[in-house]
Point group: C2
Chain length 273, copies 2
Amino acid sequence: MRYKRSERIVYMTQYLISNPNKLVPLTYFVEKFKQAKSSISEDVQIIKDTVVKEGLGSIETVAGASGGVRYRPQMQREEAEAVIQEVTTLLQEKDRLLPGGYLFLSDLMGNPTLLKKVGKLIATIYMEEELDAIVTIATKGISLAHAVASVLNLPVVVIRKDNKVTEGSTVSINYVSGSSRKIETMVLSKRTLKEHSKVLVVDDFMRAGGSINGVMNLMAEFKAQVKGVSVLVESKEVKQRLIEDYTSLVRLSDVDEYNQDFEVEPGNSLSKF
Amino acid sequence: MRYKRSERIVYMTQYLISNPNKLVPLTYFVEKFKQAKSSISEDVQIIKDTVVKEGLGSIETVAGASGGVRYRPQMQREEAEAVIQEVTTLLQEKDRLLPGGYLFLSDLMGNPTLLKKVGKLIATIYMEEELDAIVTIATKGISLAHAVASVLNLPVVVIRKDNKVTEGSTVSINYVSGSSRKIETMVLSKRTLKEHSKVLVVDDFMRAGGSINGVMNLMAEFKAQVKGVSVLVESKEVKQRLIEDYTSLVRLSDVDEYNQDFEVEPGNSLSKF
């Protein structure tokens, strides 16, 4: 079966786009298309030019025997602004405020189209970090963590607040919840994270940062290095935050539970674009 | 800015592949490329031919004012066999068996590359069903549900076994766990699922089917129609299963907890290809 250039380009584009941050050996395409390496390289160049021109990211070419091509997605500032605006508009809907100053976020966390965009935004910020895993806290952080991980081509590690038989042997820590001051427990399966891993922590909501601080302590037990913390929504109300270095998409402020009123403004993520 | 055909094809391919099951108006491409509709249609035809030829699915063209093009991914039987083989090999690793005949699955459920494939496999089976949402049970089903939902372009609805303030007002049911015979509770936020929705239930593991049966009862409270049930692993040991109509990727049998031994065989999913 002979392939025309246009056919090769369709196939290679879909393959690279479907496998972000994965090094694909050029020989894979050479063998599939039974075509000289020089032609395949020309195809790659065409894809590369368009990807760059359209601000979709970059196509890296790694030379040598273990080399190949890799698609590294990237979000442009304009698109990041649009995503943050979309999240803001969604959050400003009525009746989202819950007792205790929490926000109802389950619909956002269950929306794959929105999550893909938010995941790409967060992945873009941490693209240059050397990372081994994305760490999150059950339950609502999971879908967001996967959205980020799928762009960065990394595994997701889920910390639980309860211990289940299905986790196998675990390491647990106790921590003080930043807002309620209650002592809670966090549990992580030993098998899901190698010692000395470099991780990015992703979660849906941060108030005082007690949970994230718990994650930090648990990561210390695994001798892991936390290279970043990123949340969808941070609550600005908190005076003394336990975590200083983090990125957030949006920031919640002026929460008035009685009148179901609050403000949403862009977080500090935008400054990274 | 003028675009060459090859550039348009790269852009359109990446756009359609990144937005599966979404109807994209042709005018979107016409305006972006400032090109006649006839040229754009020719571009679409080239993409369509390659997508079909390579067994990647289909590109549907919907005529009329509200029409456009839609990429419907599809997995071929050969690829489905390879995915099931990959899952089987992973499950056969030592030390996966946990007390009570459960399997350690957290690493699989945290692997985005594997989940993309499994999600595409399950999505292919239910592609022709009219669906409004993917329903799953926290915690481990979430990532798999999102992998399926992202192919079908549907929202994910997460049922919890505990009640959290962040869920807002909820509906709950009690059910009897199929294996332990204990009474447990399931909770679903009222706002996450519209009444009379058509849903596909996705989970990681099924033994007697008590949890899934609980989901069925909870769906009845929402007047929802369950159009299918799909699990990654089913346990064959169970004599009386509460759920009859489901698909599974793999089947676990001959579980010998004492000797840490068990068999993994393909489930009934393959018969759908």
